[in-house]
Symmetry: none
DNA sequence: TATCAATATCATAACATATTCACAATCCAA
DNA sequence: TTGGATTGTGAATATGTTATGATATTGATA
């Protein structure tokens, strides 16, 4: 079993192979890339769990790759920087790097940081078990990806569930369709906002007449909200 | 109604017309320009909400236009680039382009990207956190898009609500009809200012006799105000 | 009080938005 | 790869909102 996919981006192939060797020994699945734009492509295609990213790169440089990736994802990024190279930590933090390591590094250090970052991420995701909202006769649990209505589990596709969860997490607040597309579907989603309507309809079918404490309301000319009485 | 003004800059008039056709069908207002320096002039004069910018241009090339515009504005720019043309993505990002599309493009893709970029920008216009004004027996909450009168929620169309919110946010201040049209309806709205009267009337129906602490007053010969005692 | 212009009111036309449906595209697991 | 489930799309319909013009009413002014 793999502990996770790691994308290693460095133009120095020796370093790449070295990292691959050690990371695989630790049980990670390693993908290599030697240039910036290719790295972005591979990131999109392969969806790694962590990225080790050199700054000096052909194509796009590390900062640019970082910026590109951050447009779409919060995947942890560890920057690699050569000793002597002026490393702009401020820039790094602004662009959303999670950590950085100065070359030459020893493999133990890299492994340790990789583990540390993944552990940190893991804590944010997993033990935050309480990704759940509860109202009268309604339970939306995102840990189990499960919708319970009046005690019964209702089979619900992921997008619908995510939409409901999003709305129900902020009861009474109106969301425009565009907001929902950004916040539930994701930034680079190119789609028609009528999509939202259809998902709302499908949710309503499942939730119809269950409780008078809450409902999925249309706010005409604006968007939708999960309305809760008092 | 227009969803926004888009400046299309391309020396190929067929492409321009094609883009115009599709963008206008989507409800955008389209301005065309076939050369770089003219594009800069038109940008300054017309203040578009988004720019579709070809790189190969007579006059100034796309990069130069991009740089010129970025000196003064953060308007979103989508670069158009011919396949095979070496597109310098790095340069593009540095100069501040927001996205780019490779020709020949599929019109759906362009539309999608335009929407996506505008959607990102638009987050500012979305219903904001806790926008609410409260007076005796009156609550206007723009986060919920809700009007509460004497504890009861009164179903109110968006324009009416926005008008009331606008007036009530600045109690006792008089607004002319033209000001209200600009500030609530939006700049490019060309309408009869009698429209305001009708909306005020409808609001009054909803608010009649609720409280003597406040009221929607006509200022004869001038406009309207939300008057509050003391 | 007569007059004129500003405002209020109303009905309805024009418009914008939402719902729904059927089906197409896509994704995923066997 | 195939079939079933999910997700997205476009069109028809239904619904609600907003604009407009005609007319009545009101307020300012002489």
């Amino acid at each position: 079993m793999s502990l996770g996919k790691i994308l290693v981006v460095d133009d120095d192939k020796n370093i790449c192979e070295l990292l691959r060797l050690y990371l695989e020994k630790e049980g990670y699945n390693v993908i290599l890339s030697h240039d910036g734009s290719e790295a972005v492509v591979k990131f999109n295609a392969l969806n790694p769990d962590l990225i080790l990213l050199d700054i000096m790169l052909p194509g796009l440089d590390g900062w640019q790759v970082c910026r590109e990736i951050r447009k779409k994802s919060n995947v942890p990024i560890i920057m690699l920087t050569a000793k002597g190279e002026t490393f702009d930590k401020v820039l790094g933090l602004e662009l959303g790097a999670d950590d950085y390591v100065v070359k030459p590094f020893d493999t133990k250090e890299i492994i340790a940081r990789v583990k540390a970052v993944l552990r940190r991420i893991d804590q944010n995701n997993a033990p935050a078990e309480n990704k759940e909202v509860v109202y009268d006769k309604l339970v939306v649990n995102m840990t189990r990806y499960e919708l319970k209505v009046d005690g019964k589990v209702i089979d619900t596709p992921p997008k619908e569930l995510e939409l409901l969860y999003h709305l129900a997490s902020n009861p009474n607040r109106v969301y425009t369709r565009d907001q929902l597309l950004d916040e539930v579907w994701g930034f680079e989603y190119y789609g028609d906002s009528r999509t939202i309507d259809v998902h709302v309809k499908r949710l309503r079918e499942k939730l119809e007449g269950v409780s008078d404490q809450w409902s999925l309301k249309t706010v005409w000319g604006v968007g939708y909200k999960f309305e809760v009485n008092e």
